[in-house]
């Protein structure tokens, strides 16, 4: 796949009279066309500054930002503004214009691009259709729910056919089920329109749900990058381990060294775990579970610990495979 964004030695230092703060330091990152690239880190790690450096909302102190082969740092203001039209962005707090209707919010970027009124309106309506808000054209943002606001923001960000969509904690202000629906919409946009997506988040769940690649940022530097499946299965750095298996606390390693992370991405009606224990006759230890009970069953994830016995492990794995429940294996050594 062709690369679309390349960050080279990107550094941003904030300086005022009293303090010098290094927000990001020597960041090298390549994002390829079609990626849904998750950049995850704890708050204060520098991820917000990083994403703002991609479209130069923050001017990097040093380093280069290549977008489709052009170094944005070297562009003149007017050229930069042109380029920004090709880089959509959505935010944690949606940042809609409260005094404009939904339709006029989506029209705004088209006004900037000097698109003829009729064409612009057609385009805006089409986009609001895509995000499922065709009945809200004349509503004002204050009349919408958080999820609907983010949908308007997505429509607005897509107006000028960008090749990249930057998402700055786009789901952090939303409840879990709304988060899921917004993530599904982003995935759809990625697949149907071929738009590369960069997601900044502190929630592992977001990365797990839609990203194909992930970069882990901590203390201003990138600690680890790779395919989500690989990084998750075998995290190398302490911070990665911490983010992927958070707040497990002390685990009794005597019981067994194998951990399974079960993901119920489809809704499950039967009491799977109870059934698994009965069928396999393996006593598993539930370490953590975050299961949401919905109208059509439950979704979420669960981490279980298995006894140190190959037979039992195989039985459980078989059971899960036949039930079509996805799981990832790791061991207690991953925990620090």
């Amino acid at each position: 796949m062709a690369e679309i964004i390349r960050l080279e030695k990107l550094t941003k230092i904030f300086q005022d009279k009293r303090n010098t703060t290094v927000a990001i330091k020597d960041i090298d990152l390549v994002i390829e066309q079609g990626d849904i690239y998750g950049i995850i880190g704890l708050s204060g790690a520098g991820k917000s500054t990083l994403i703002r450096c991609i479209n130069l909302l923050e001017k990097p102190t040093s380093g280069a930002v290549f977008f489709e082969g052009t170094n944005l740092v070297e562009l003149k203001d007017s050229q930069l503004r042109q380029t920004r039209q090709k880089i959509g962005m959505i935010f944690q707090n949606f940042n809609l214009m409260e005094q404009r209707t939904v339709l006029r919010n989506v029209l705004f970027p088209l006004e900037i691009a000097h698109i003829a009124k009729d064409t612009a309106k057609e385009r805006a309506v089409e986009l609001l259709n895509l995000v499922g808000l065709s009945d809200k054209l004349d509503s004002y943002p204050s009349q919408l729910s958080g999820g609907q606001k983010q949908r308007v923001a997505i429509a607005r960000a897509l107006a000028n056919n960008p090749s990249v969509l930057l998402c700055d904690e786009a789901t952090s202000a939303l409840d879990p089920s709304t988060t899921l629906s917004i993530l599904q919409l982003l995935k759809e946009i990625n697949q149907k329109l071929g738009i590369t997506i960069v997601i900044i988040t502190h929630e592992m769940k977001v990365v797990e749900t839609i990203c194909n690649k992930v970069a882990i940022i901590d203390e201003s530097v990138i600690k680890e990058t790779g395919l989500v499946a690989e990084v998750f299965a075998n995290p190398q750095t302490p911070i990665a381990k911490n983010l992927i298996y958070p707040k497990l606390g002390v685990i009794n390693k005597e019981f067994g060294s194998v951990l399974l992370k079960l993901t119920f991405d489809k809704t499950v009606l039967e009491p799977v775990v109870a059934d698994m224990i009965l069928k396999t006759q393996v006593a598993v230890n539930i370490i953590e579970a975050s299961i949401k009970q919905g109208d059509n069953g439950s979704t979420g994830e669960m981490i279980i610990q298995l006894p140190n016995d190959q037979n039992s492990i195989a039985k459980v794995q078989n059971y899960l495979t036949t039930k079509n429940i996805s799981f990832q294996q790791s061991n207690t050594e991953v925990q620090q």
């Binding site: 203001d77 920004r84 962005m89 809609l96 705004f108 900037i112 691009a113 004002y140």
Partner: protein, 226 residues
């Protein structure tokens, strides 16, 4: 009430004075806004988190505004009037007073506009820039429309303040209800004239405030539907 009015002055006299007051206040408010909006914007954008951060401009402009704002209106007016009269070349009529009012009110308006501008959520500004809008476009098509209700509320407050200034200027000769109250009410010991003028001034302020607030509310889509 009618008989009371006709006791000293006919009804038409008060109407005439009311219209003169409204004219002076209207023109002064308008001119103060013509000057105050750009100055308020300039104060805001040159501030430390502004779009065109520029400390020297901000500090100098801020200092001038603070000095003019600190001077009690009537003292400022009597200090400036001789120079204004020379400048505009007329010693009679409303013109010198209007100029004085504008000089005194513009710094006030600039601060009102500046404080309205602070209401903007920076995220919205950021979103606009991220979409490729220029800073100028962001100021005029995003920030100002977003804070329009606050600007209108500010304008009604400015109107009442300038009305107060005009009434004060009446004591040194500016025409209108303030002058009537002072000359024919206070000096001539005619309390009903003072009271009628007072009531008329209060009614004017109340009408403008009510209308202004209603317009501001109607134009504000932030809270509706909640």
């Amino acid at each position: 009430m009618i008989s009371l009015i006709s006791a000293t002055f006919p009804f038409t006299y008060y109407l005439e004075q009311t219209l003169i007051t409204l004219k002076i206040v209207g023109i002064s408010t308008l001119l103060s806004y013509v000057l105050g909006i750009p100055l308020g914007i300039l104060l805001n954008v040159t501030d430390k988190n502004g779009l065109y951060k520029c400390r020297p401009v901000n500090a100098i402009l801020g200092a001038i505004i603070n000095i003019l704002r600190s001077a009690p209106f009537i003292i400022l007016l009597v200090t400036l009037l001789p120079a204004i009269r020379k400048l505009v070349g007329t010693s009679v009529g409303d013109v010198p007073f209007t100029v004085g009012l504008v000089i005194a009110a513009t710094p006030f308006v600039a601060r009102m506009v500046e404080s309205s501008l602070k209401e903007i959520d920076y995220g919205v500004v950021e979103a606009s820039l991220a979409m490729g809008a220029s800073k100028m476009r962001t100021i005029f098509t995003v920030i100002l429309p977003e804070i329009r209700s606050s600007l209108i509320v500010g304008a009604t407050i400015s109107f009442a303040t300038i009305l107060g200034y005009t009434a004060m200027a009446g004591t040194i000769g500016a025409e209108g209800l303030g002058n009537t109250a002072y000359t024919y009410g206070y000096i001539s010991s005619n309390p009903e004239v003072t009271i009628i003028c007072l009531v008329l001034l209060i009614v004017i302020v109340q009408i403008f405030q009510e209308v202004g607030m209603r317009i501001a509310k109607k134009l504000d889509h932030r809270k509706k539907g909640e």
